[in-house]
């Protein structure tokens, strides 16, 4: 007897997301639906505005990956106007990227994702001495663990015990404590819990790191079309020193806590089927990011792999990107269409009456997605008619396949330490590990960009390239590159000195989009199928799987033009040369 489980809201993400799964009599998932439940229409709002303002507005697409859309918006306009920002500006932007990735990834793992893995109630039963000793098992070679001294762990336990004794757990209330798929021992839970609290402190440092050159965080404000405005901070050695110190603190923390806890998770969760089930979708797509010098990028691959095959790397052909809206709340877009030729008209049809298993296991009346019709504000992007997964996992496996030496080293060392085969990357556990490995790659190699900036500042102080916007001309341009949640692109057209059209194709759109017209599912939906739930009333397996993508739903929902105008022809002329 098939049953449906509605999960709305999916919490601990950015945005508003509903996920529904259908399970058979053995509680095995036979079908899954992902539905975004908010539309804001920012691209519509951009039309007719000053191109210099676009970045400030696109930045407000998202406050979690704050800065991603700011940089994308500013860069797309620079590309359109043919501006080459000075190297100082490009490298400064990379330094802000590092701060963003450090911040975003540690907060994602500890504050948003950890409560799917870590049972904080079990941590109260742990032996702090034992836990303290155990922590040494998981750190990378040459590092000691952090925030896991016996005394510290005892303090953490005491603090949380008091919280629990109050009988009202506040934000931890009604969590999935004691769930069958929670695999850490009390000691391991205590180690992770201590890092949960420690990360609250460390993420403030990452935010400060961005604010040094960005003015503030979230939503920094020092990028301008042509370059960066923080020239005084760049010319002040004390400011550079502040950045360097905070970078080192974060890099140290990534190795001593984040890396270690993922190794620990790999050891504890290696046999939990819902965590190590191989993804049904085996295609991964990425684009180069983080410029470290005049012609070098930390992650330099632009392309994809197919069917889980790490031995073959394919270069990207941007003309093969399409979107469609067979199951999305837009009209007249049932065929895969290139973003250039796409039309968009909202057509909300809502949900239908149905039934769901509730939190007590009863079948209750509820709203459900209209699975034969339209059911999400997110469209379905495809590459060469195939769904693709994007994100840190895509970044790591595609760079690995493309022969990026730094990525290969970081990944191989992790696999060696955990004893996992490379295949294990294509799982929920692997996706969560890849995000950490991406952060570790930055921690281990990011200072190259800092050193090159300092070197360049010795002979060149330029921070902004001059430009003019000719109101009689038409301009087209785009940004494309990986941000914390994967491949992002912004496309713009400028006419009469104003924004004529704007479109963002966002990472979470690739992953969270609904089924397409040919019945092919995006990553969220496809990879849930085949998973078995221990208890449909507490679908932690589903929540954990969805969290592993680090959803950013405000980003994913986008539209170009309510009236359904065409975007017109772009002539792609990438700012950074051919890829």
């Amino acid at each position: 007897m098939a049953k449906r489980v509605v999960i709305d809201p999916i919490t601990r993400i950015e945005g508003h997301l509903r996920v529904e799964v259908v399970v058979d009599e053995n509680n095995k998932i036979t079908n899954a639906f992902s539905s975004a439940t908010l539309w804001r229409g920012i691209e519509v709002i951009l039309k007719g505005r000053d191109p210099r303002d676009a970045g400030f507005m696109t930045q407000r697409i998202c406050g979690v990956c704050t800065y991603s859309h700011y940089k994308a918006g500013i860069t797309a306009v620079e590309d359109a106007l043919g501006i080459k920002p000075p190297l100082n500006a490009l490298l400064t932007r990379t330094l802000m990227d590092f701060a963003l990735f450090f911040h975003d990834h540690i907060v994602h793992f500890y504050q948003l994702h950890a409560l799917d893995w870590v049972d904080i109630i079990s941590a109260l039963k742990a032996d702090p001495k034992k836990a303290s000793e155990e922590a040494f098992k998981y750190v990378p070679k040459g590092y000691n663990p952090i925030a896991t001294g016996e005394d510290e762990l005892r303090e953490v336990q005491k603090r949380v015990s008091k919280f629990a004794e109050k009988g009202d757990l506040g934000p931890f209330k009604n969590g999935y404590w004691g769930h069958k798929t929670m695999k850490f021992t009390p000691e391991q839970n205590l180690i992770a819990l201590s890092h949960y609290l420690k990360t609250l402190e460390m993420q403030r440092i990452a935010a400060q790191m961005m604010a040094i050159f960005g003015g503030k965080n979230p939503h920094p404000q020092s990028l301008t079309v042509g370059g960066v405005t923080c020239v005084m901070d760049l010319q002040d050695p004390a400011r550079l020193g502040e950045y360097l110190t905070k970078f080192q603190e974060l890099a140290d923390y990534v190795n001593r806590a984040y890396y270690a806890d993922i190794v620990m998770a790999a050891s504890a969760y290696g046999t939990e089927p819902s965590v190590v089930q191989k993804t049904n979708l085996g295609n991964f797509l990425t684009y180069k990011t983080m410029q470290t010098g005049p012609n070098s990028w930390l992650f330099d691959a632009c392309g994809y792999i197919k069917n889980h095959d790490l031995t073959k790397f394919y270069e990207i052909d941007e003309s093969k990107i399409t979107e469609e809206a067979t199951h999305s709340w837009y009209k007249n877009l049932d065929n895969p269409t290139h973003p250039y030729d796409e039309t968009t008209e909202p057509e909300y049809t809502g949900y239908v009456e149905g039934e769901s298993v509730d939190g007590q296991g009863n079948i209750v009346k509820t709203k459900v997605v209209n699975e034969k019709g339209k059911y999400s504000w997110i469209k379905s992007p495809r590459y060469n008619e195939e769904p693709m997964e994007v994100g840190p996992l895509a970044c790591m496996v595609v760079n690995y396949a493309a022969g990026n030496k730094k990525v290969q080293k970081v990944v191989n060392e992790f696999l060696a330490q955990t004893g996992l085969p490379a295949e294990a990357l294509f799982t929920v556990l692997g996706r969560t590990a890849a995000r950490m490995l991406q952060t570790k790659t930055i921690a281990d190699y990011g200072l190259e960009a800092f050193n090159n900036l300092v070197e360049n500042l010795k002979k060149d102080q330029t921070t902004v390239a001059p430009y003019v916007i000719d109101e009689t001309k038409e301009y087209k341009g785009r940004f494309i590159g990986d941000v914390p949640r994967g491949m992002l692109s912004h496309w713009c057209r400028i006419k009469n000195g104003k924004i004529e059209n704007w479109q963002a194709v966002v990472p979470s759109t690739w992953n969270a989009g609904p089924e397409d017209g040919r019945g092919k599912k995006g990553a969220y939906e496809a990879n849930l199928i085949g998973m078995t739930l221990a208890d449909p009333a507490k679908p932690l397996e589903v929540i954990r799987s969805i969290h592993s993508y680090d959803p950013c739903i405000a980003c994913a929902v986008h539209v170009m033009d309510v009236k359904g105008k065409k975007l017109g022809e772009f002539k792609v002329d990438p700012l950074y040369g051919a890829c």
Binding site: L38, R49, T229
Partner: protein
């Protein structure tokens, strides 16, 4: 601040103490247990008093208020938003005491950080609203879509619209705080042509609302406002746009570190020029500091690390109503266009700054800008 007020606060705290608490432990005890001394705690209380513009006689009361703050449950709702305000809140200040205070406020519901999801999350919301009926503080992040009967945003298994949920939650709230410019005034999604009919909270519910605008506001302003409510059992003194005066009483311009350059007529003419390297005034490259009421120039962001003007970019006016439209273009001086924001008064129609010589600019601008008054209660 007279004796009567002080007395009132004392009574208020006594009343709070009588409420059923979450447990026996006081905040200060808990802080001691986690390595903070009583002295740290009082230091923090004094800093908070200063920030709330209260006399030092209030310091011990703030400490006391913080100790009973766990009696005040908070429900936090996310509407049409980007989560930047929640992100700002978790940047909450060193000492980490802010974080503890926040944790201690008994957070019943918060989408972004709560452990529970789906049905379990719904249950928490329901329980929080019933158990603390009439006593919880409702914080709202994000604008409220109202077109198409609010269906641009739905939440929960029954696909309730954001508008319906907000109305329900506001009914039984002791106080409603709009955190950020979106919930205060509609924000980015309400910028022209406002396709979803997004509005600020105060425009869709019948209840006094405190607006804590900013894109996002600093954690200090969020925490300060909540504390004020706890302390007085009332809403803080506000301006015309319901912004607490302790945080939004002065213009950015009033305490700007580049103010001397403005007065001297020294301006950055374009980003990256010699003026930029010397920290000249950013008015001519679009700074909206003279029209914006907030404490950024005093408090800065991220533990005083920096703020936009320090990073060489002008203020974009993000704590003002409709700033996305009224302050645009963000890198052009406002004086280049007619100023038609709600802030405009009889004198604020034309500044005529642009055609003046550089030497005359400051004086003329001064005269014009001084004419903009902070909206009074």
């Amino acid at each position: 601040m007279n004796e009567a007020t002080l007395q009132k606060v004392k009574e208020r705290i006594e009343a709070l103490k009588k409420l059923p608490g979450m447990g026996e432990k006081s905040v200060s005890k808990m802080l001691e247990d986690s390595g903070f001394t009583r002295r740290d705690f009082l230091k923090w209380s004094a800093a908070m008093a200063a920030m709330l513009s209260l006399p030092t006689s209030f310091t011990p009361l703030i400490a006391e208020a913080a100790e009973v703050s766990d009696r005040l449950p908070v429900i936090w709702l996310n509407m049409a938003e980007c989560t930047g305000c929640s992100e700002s809140l978790i940047r909450s200040d060193a000492p980490t005491i802010d974080n503890l205070i926040f944790n201690y406020i008994n957070l019943q519901y918060h989408d972004t950080i709560m452990a529970a999801a789906g049905w379990q999350a719904e249950e928490n919301l329901k329980e929080g609203m019933e158990k603390f009926k009439g006593r919880y503080i409702l914080c709202v992040e994000g604008g409220i879509p109202t077109n198409m009967d609010g269906q641009y945003l739905t939440m929960g298994p029954h696909a309730e619209t954001g508008l319906e949920l907000l109305t329900r939650a506001a009914n039984d709230a002791a106080a409603v705080i709009s955190v950020g410019t979106c919930s205060s005034f509609g924000g980015i999604q309400a910028a022209a042509p406002n396709p979803t009919g997004a509005k600020g909270v105060y425009q869709v519910i019948n209840k006094p609302v405190i607006n804590v605008p900013g894109c996002p506001p600093s954690a200090k302003n969020i925490v300060g406002t909540i504390l004020y409510v706890i302390l007085f059992g009332a809403l803080p003194a506000v301006d015309n746009f319901n912004r607490p005066k302790f945080a939004y009483g002065l213009r950015i311009h009033d305490l700007c570190e580049r103010r001397g350059h403005f007065d001297a007529g020294e301006f950055v003419e374009q980003f990256g020029d010699a003026g930029a390297e010397n920290g000249f005034c950013l008015y001519k490259v679009g700074c909206k500091g003279p029209y914006t009421f907030n404490n950024c120039s005093r408090e800065r962001f991220n533990q005083h690390t920096s703020w936009p003007v320090q990073a060489g970019h002008g203020c974009i006016g993000c704590s003002e109503p409709d700033f996305w439209d009224s302050m645009a273009p963000y890198e052009e001086p406002l004086a280049n266009k007619k100023y038609d924001s709600p802030l405009a008064d009889a004198t604020a129609d034309s500044y005529g700054v642009t055609i003046l010589t550089v030497a005359g600019v400051a004086i003329a601008a001064h005269a014009a800008l001084s004419a903009i008054k902070n909206p009074k209660e």
